[in-house]
């Protein structure tokens, strides 16, 4: 997937003024937040589950190699194959080679963040394969040649009229522009794709070491049709997805559906363990898992390890006021919102994704809702610190910060300058406010600056003879 994180500011500005997007975002935010709150209110154990999940995931991560080895052994035991990819390029090459070996022409895909991360669709398409996203939201954005704008609801920014237009253009049909008409149309089109596909590629919400299972959850059933009807099932998954036991998957699933969509369970949860058994009437003949590192092992060692707890539920972005104002495209890559503000710079570069962690008010709501208690604001701040160490903040800002620091460490100077500043600002004030302030136009373009009274608190306080 093309990296467009450098265009954050223009894309965000554009998004702020896109009326369809704004309407969709308002509706989505209300829906996701309200449904999650309701689901959680029904579960008094939710906090205990969050804490248990945090502790468990940390335990697993500290023994990640062990669990991956055990997982691999179990996949082999049930007749599947495990492939390890160090980076995105290797992962693409492995999947492509598997498709070629299978003589594939058509590939059906279930929703998978990792496949976006490694740019799989583009690679397969470039090799002449027909690649069909089967999650309805992903399918819509694929037709629109856009990236997903939300990890749970990829087409959340599209209106039904826009979807109807896309279908008309690509299917040559004229579906009724109602939600039910559009879903029926997509169902008919995609049904043929499922039965035509040679290879089905899905992601995995979890990998289970004890049984060699890959777990997917969907509401549509597309992931299941994808993996059941094709001859070859390929799973792409990050190495951090492994959990030891079936009971662990249960723990995380109790949190996932409630956090993501406010459901107590998604409609379909599927544990897949290898290819079709002797006598099975259906199911794929080959089963492959591509384990993707792509920088994750490095994250284990630094201050970012906690980010590997992420179960990709999307709650952080649903509760982020910045995401709520601009949607996912502005973030310019696979992972939007707060989780993306940490992950994206780590994947694509602290420099390339400079704005993401900085365009954040650190209000903390994301960390409060995260089902695995990732301290997102702290990690976002940590990315800013790493950017500072690499000298990536804008030069003017660095100069101001350095100067400010020197002054703030010298009280007499600091207070002297403060006294000067408030006097100056007071003279600029009119009816208690300043309407334009050169040098601070970022502020005064949209708001007045309340004017100070002309004396600082410290000078007034000490002038009154306090403390003397």
């Amino acid at each position: 997937m093309q990296i467009r994180t450098r265009e954050f500011i223009p894309r965000a500005t554009f998004a702020l003024h896109d009326p369809n997007l704004q309407r969709a975002l308002a509706k989505a935010a209300d829906g996701f937040i309200g449904k999650r709150a309701k689901a959680i209110a029904e579960v008094p154990e939710f906090e205990a589950l969050r804490e248990a999940a945090r502790v468990r995931k940390d335990e697993i991560l500290s023994e990640l190699d062990l669990w991956l080895e055990r997982y691999e052994a179990r996949v082999r035991a049930v007749g599947g194959q495990v492939h390890w990819a160090r980076d995105a390029e290797e992962a693409r090459a492995i999947v492509l080679a598997l498709c070629r070996r299978a003589g594939a022409k058509t590939v059906a895909k279930g929703k998978s963040m990792v496949s976006e991360e490694i740019g799989l669709n583009e690679a397969l398409a470039a090799d002449g394969l027909e690649v069909i996203e089967t999650d309805l939201g992903e399918y819509i954005v694929q037709l629109a040649k856009e990236p997903p704008s939300h990890i749970i609801a990829p087409a959340v920014h599209k209106t039904k009229e826009q979807v109807a237009e896309l279908f008309a253009e690509h299917h040559g049909t004229t579906p009724e522009p109602t939600v039910s008409g559009l879903v029926t149309e997509a169902r008919q089109q995609l049904r043929r794709a499922f039965f035509r596909a040679d290879v089905g590629i899905t992601g995995a919400n979890f990998l289970i070491a004890e049984t060699g299972a890959s777990v997917i959850v969907t509401n549509e059933g597309n992931g299941d049709l994808t993996q059941t009807l094709a001859r070859v099932h390929i799973v792409t998954a990050g190495i951090e997805k492994v959990v030891p036991a079936l009971e662990d998957a249960t723990l995380f699933l109790r949190l996932l559906a409630r956090s993501a969509t406010g459901q107590d369970s998604e409609t379909y949860t599927t544990y897949s363990m290898g290819p079709r058994r002797a006598g099975d009437p259906d199911g794929p003949q080959e089963y492959h898992v591509v384990l993707v590192d792509n920088g994750r092992s490095r994250m284990l060692g630094g201050p970012w390890r906690e980010m590997l707890r992420c179960i990709r539920c999307g709650a952080c972005m649903n509760h982020c006021p910045v995401y709520g104002a601009i949607g996912g495209h502005a973030y310019g890559w696979v992972y939007p919102g707060p989780m993306g503000s940490v992950l994206t710079p780590l994947f694509v570069g602290l420099d390339t994704a400079y704005d993401l962690p900085n365009a954040c008010t650190l209000n903390g709501r994301c960390g409060e809702v995260c089902p695995v208690k990732i301290p997102l604001p702290d990690l976002i701040r940590e990315v800013r610190h790493a950017q500072q160490r690499d000298g990536l903040h804008p030069p003017a800002e660095q100069r101001v910060k350095a100067l400010w620091r020197r002054v703030a460490e010298r009280p007499a100077l600091y207070h002297g300058l403060e006294r000067l500043a408030v006097r100056l600002l007071a003279t600029l004030g009119h009816k208690g406010r300043i309407r334009r302030l050169p040098g601070l136009s970022g502020w005064t373009d949209a708001r007045d600056l309340p004017a100070p009274a002309g004396r600082t608190f410290l000078e007034l306080w000490h002038a009154k003879g306090h403390d003397e």
């Binding site: 500011i9 965000a12 702020l16 006021p321 910045v322 104002a325 601009i326 704005d355 900085n358 365009a359 954040c360 008010t361 650190l362 209000n363 903390g364 709501r365 960390g367 409060e368 701040r381 800013r384 610190h385 790493a386 500072q388 903040h393 800002e397 910060k401 400010w404 620091r405 703030a408 460490e409 600091y414 207070h415 403060e418 408030v422 004030g429 009816k431 208690g432 406010r433 309407r435 601070l440 970022g442 502020w443 373009d445 949209a446 708001r447 007045d448 600056l449 309340p450 004017a451 100070p452 009274a453 004396r455 600082t456 608190f457 410290l458 007034l460 306080w461 000490h462 306090h466 403390d467």
Partner: protein, 254 residues
Amino acid sequence: MPPDRTGTVGLFATCLMNAMRPNIGFAAARLLEDAGWRVEVPREQTCCGQPAYNGGDEDAARALARRTIAQFEAFDALVAPSGSCLATLKHDYPRLLRDDPLWAGRAQALADKSWELLTFLHERVGPEHIRSRFPHRVTYHDSCSGLRQLGIHEAPRALLARVEGLRLVEAEEREVCCGFGGTFSVKYPALSERLAENKVQRLLATRAEVVLGGDLGCLLHLAGRLSRICAPVRVYHTVEVLAGLADGPGIGQS
């Protein structure tokens, strides 16, 4: 109030309060002194270092943390009229200095006796000292760092309930950020503006005459936006109302 429950408070004059709204400092001092506390304002204090910390400059934040600790560690308590600065003192100082053998303990000791003003008034001073009158319809803006890092929610409401004539009308989406975010508001002005506008509309929907809050950063931001869209609403720091010092112009008014 028995004397053993009082002592000397070091009042932390936050940068914004010091420059933009001294009245908040005087209001705080009045309430504290009325309740028998001695209030001191160290002359050598500057900034808590939060802008540096959030801006990525840990070094600068550490240097300012050490300064602040040295200025305030002798008092019985440090009190600051801002949840945001206080969260820095309470949560970030111990973390910033945890690997510094000379300072880690001192950072924690100061953190343990540092209080956000409204919480201090509620828990240590007691609401019975509030004897003001403010016959207006008001709404309250919960600032994010106070709300999430310090859990400030009850204190301001309990204190305001003591104010004669005051009617508190709660806004929708109280837990949503107003879009100030310190340097965020100048680095990403368009985003900040949108968040401010969303917030201001929620506040206006309460038909309150007055907006109160506990953090001057958010209040300057909201007052600035309200004034720009010519909304006839006054903005004060909560303590100005509690101390009976909200008789003058609101923030950004004359």
